[in-house]
Amino acid sequence: MVTLDTTTVEDRPSTRPAGIRTTRGHRVFQTVNTVILLGVIVVTLYPIVNIVARSFSSDAYIRSGKVNLWPRGFNLTTYKAVMTNSMFWTDYRNTVVYTVVATVVAMFLTTCYAYVLSKKDLRGRGVLVGVAVFTMFFSGGLIPNYVLVTTLGLKNSVWAIALPNAISVFNLLVMKAFFEGLPAELEEAAAIDGLNTYGILWRVVLPLSKAVLATMVLFYAVSFWNSWFAAFLYMDHSDLMPVTVYLRNLIAGATNGTSVGFTEADATAVGANIQAVTIVLTTLPILVVYPFVQRYFVSGVTLGAVKG
């Protein structure tokens, strides 16, 4: 946890010039800052801890609002129930497949596009950038998109998820800026040594771009993992849905069914702890992976930004 270390600074005034000695104002600022940030930590952590606690609690305790930070009526039966539910695992597998395929496709296309755009002497570069940026401001719209994907025969396949979202313009521009920051001399030297364009990209540029590549993989993977709308729109069977749609439906079933006055058949409420368990299991992989990729994540984005 963060602790305030202002006293040590006070004790050693000689090591610092008088001008930037820690002032009273600065200490107040630090205190306030710490308090606010601790508040942010609590606000961020509480829901997560609460959901985890709920996932281990019994339904009756959750419904009477008694579960806060610690499980009550501890049990693992819900975990067992959810983990033996074949539809959950089918959808979970779908999520993994969709995420991997879509991320690979997206990385390939985005890298190629960004590398091309980073060449300042490329003729028609402005047009190519314009084509990409145009889509940031104007989109075809929901129904035209649906008609297009359907007509191309992509419905009910992973391509309906991977292809329409393959290039994120934001990611493209960050990557382009990063490539532009690489010294042109390196590529020239490689060319003199006999590498062609693809060799330069593969053997010189990409190995130097691990930070931005890791960041982009993270960006894409997280967004595909979390996405539900494309799958919801283009998939017609529940065994093709990603786990996010499964989860969304589960939560809607628990809230709508009882609060809007649905018909008797629909009022089958889903247990509150089943929701919690599913949420935990769905977010777990991202939560586990995130800390390891995070260091690339920060440096990758800022590198691109500063050098661009």
């Binding site: 339904d59 009756a60 305790y61 419904r63 009477s64 609002g65 008694k66 539809m87 719209g141 929901l142 129904i143 649906y146 008609v147 359907t150 967004s223 979390n226 996405s227 539900w228 709308f229 919801f232 729109l233 017609d236 069977h237 529940s238 849905m241 996010t244 749609v245 499964y246 969304r248 439906n249 589960l250 939560i251 809607a252 079933g253 628990a254 709508n256 069914g257 009882t258 609060s259 006055g261 649905f262 018909t263 008797e264 058949a265 629909d266 009022a267 089958t268 409420a269 889903v270």
Partner: protein, 552 residues
């Protein structure tokens, strides 16, 4: 999770639907009478009491609202038995319940909809009418003997007429109920009543004095707290109260800006009715005397449930499900000897009456189906499955001898190993999860006997009281034309929001009731008068059209 706001999605859908309207509404007149090319696989004669069976195996596509409580399975007995009995295989497009309406809009807009589109609530069809994507089903009811017979037998024409669009047709086949089904009332702690020597309240005045007595015994608590306040404050409570006071469909969920006044044969503003004021007055009294928790109108369901199940409050709104699923198990943990019942809806000045539409969510049919060679067979199939007694029993109870049995008096009994809504708690299989029956897409409506066949004994007791009450006539239809619809949509929501917002202020005492007249004139500022004029003009037009056609 990706955030696409609901509103922006709806706006996009709306715009898309409108855009499509421009393209297809000029599509030309369909000759609804000539069905000679659409009779493949249909039965030559099909009548009430007859089992429908297509002359050859046929497949119809359908949208399916996938309920997470009983997710769709391809091997449901429902599918196989249906194919066996009717020769019809249903090919479902499975859509998660969470976003059913969104997908329905998109695929209808894109012209990619299956033939059958179930789970469409009356009114939800309106945005698709202009686009020409859905079939004016009223043109084809002659193909549906069971549907027509039920409307005649249960005298439902008035209810069905409320579905009419301005062209004099309707576009959704509603689920039909024999009687208005009241599910919402109050749950009350009878152990607390007994301890205080009180009777179960029968009228709103009784309820008031019961709450007062509870308050006297437990001065630190609010005897009543309430839920179902999001997004509509007092959703269930004000509806129940409003009906008891005779304010049309009530406040809360039921609130409609215009209520039909039989005396003047015209619509009046609900929010300005004396009965509505009386409702506010009653609720305000409960709040002012600290009998009703003022947070009732803003808190979430979870908060309200927690107050009730922890024993802090003794009265709360309920329906049959919540009583059994939430309140009892919750209270059993904190107050083991607590007893709760769902009381008959307390009677108010309006007397022993109930209001409501006897229509349930129903079925839209894609316009494309009309051109199918199997169209007639499909309509006969729909008629059998959704409207015949046999079809309704099949959809709800399944197969006799497998999922249920019937006793001599016609009562239904689940098979030993089958459970549904806790009727057979020791059974290992569930009627809806494992067999696909009692599925909200296909099983709804029907006779009171069928409806109550899955009710518990105590719920039947409740329904007996409610069935005995008089059902008030539904308001007459007032179909709007396209221009009016647009204007109506602009005024409707702000007016409703304003009334509900001020209702809340009056009830909570933020605004004194002495300002009632001021409030009524404020409604004028919210286009209340023009709104009424619009509705009444539409009603007059409908009336004169009807009288004209009656004479001819």
């Amino acid at each position: 999770m990706t955030n696409i706001s609901r509103r922006s999605l709806l706006v996009t859908l709306g715009a898309a639907t409108l855009g499509l309207a421009g393209c297809t509404s000029s599509g030309g007149s369909d000759k609804s009478t000539d069905l000679s090319k659409n009779r493949t696989d249909a039965m030559d004669t099909f009548a009430v009491g007859q089992q429908f069976k297509a002359t050859a195996p046929v497949t119809f596509s359908t949208l399916l609202n996938d309920n997470p409580g009983y997710p769709e399975k391809g091997n449901w007995l429902f599918w196989t038995e249906l194919a066996k009995r009717t020769n019809v295989t249903l090919k479902p497009t499975v859509v998660p319940l969470s976003d059913y309406e969104n997908k329905r809009s998109v695929i209808l807009g894109a012209g990619d909809a299956p033939f059958l589109i179930p789970k469409t609530y009356p009114g939800q069809e309106a945005p698709f009418v202009a686009s020409g994507a859905i079939l004016p089903v009223s043109d084809y009811v002659d193909l549906m003997p069971n549907y027509k017979a039920k409307i005649a037998k249960w005298n439902l024409q008035g209810d069905v007429d409320t579905l009419l669009q301005d062209d004099g047709k309707y576009y959704v086949l509603p689920g039909l109920h024999e009687d208005v089904w009241i599910d919402y009332s109050f749950a009350i702690r009878t152990d607390v009543l007994d301890a205080l020597g009180l009777q179960i309240p029968k009228t709103l005045d009784d309820l008031h004095s019961v709450l007062k007595a509870m308050k006297a015994a437990h001065p630190d608590s609010y005897p009543m707290t309430d839920r179902w306040s999001q997004p509509t404050p007092g959703g269930a409570l004000l509806q129940t109260l409003g009906q008891a006071f005779g304010a049309g469909y009530g406040g809360g969920w039921g609130y409609q800006n215009a209520t039909y006044d039989a005396g003047s044969d015209a619509f009046v503003l609900t929010g300005a009715m004396d009965q509505y004021k009386a409702m506010i007055d009653y609720a305000h009294t409960l709040v002012a005397e600290k009998l009703l928790d003022p947070e009732s109108f803003t808190q979430t369901d979870d908060q309200a449930e927690a107050k009730f199940t922890s024993g802090k409050s003794f009265v709360i709104s309920t329906n049959a499900q919540e009583l059994v699923n939430t309140y009892r198990p919750g209270l059993a943990k904190s107050v083991p000897n607590a007893k709760i019942v769902k009381i008959a809806v307390p009677v108010g000045p309006a007397g022993d009456v109930k209001v409501g539409l006897r229509l349930e969510n129903g079925l839209m049919i894609s316009k494309k189906a009309r051109d199918s060679k199997d169209f007639v067979a499909m309509m006969q199939f729909v008629d059998w499955l959704f409207y015949s007694d046999e079809g309704q029993i099949f959809a709800k109870w399944g197969v006799e001898g497998v999922t249920y049995t019937r006793d001599a008096s016609g009562g239904f009994q689940l098979a030993k190993d089958v459970d549904y809504v806790g009727l057979n708690p020791t059974a290992t299989k569930k009627l809806n999860v494992d067999f696909g029956f009692s599925n909200g897409n296909f099983a709804y409506g029907g006779s009171t006997q069928l409806l109550e066949s899955t009710f518990s004994a105590e719920e039947k007791e409740f329904q007996k009281v409610m069935t005995a009450r008089k059902t008030l006539a539904v308001p007459p239809p007032h179909p709007l034309n396209a221009d009016e619809q647009e204007q109506f949509a602009l005024w409707e929501a702000p007016l409703k929001d304003y009334v509900q917002q001020q209702t809340l202020k009056f009830i909570l005492g933020d605004r004194p009731l002495s300002q009632w007249d001021a409030f009524k004139s404020e409604l004028k500022g919210k286009n209340g008068d023009q709104y009424l004029k619009l509705v009444n003009t539409a009603y007059d037009r409908y009336r004169s059209k009807k009288n004209g056609s009656d004479k001819s």
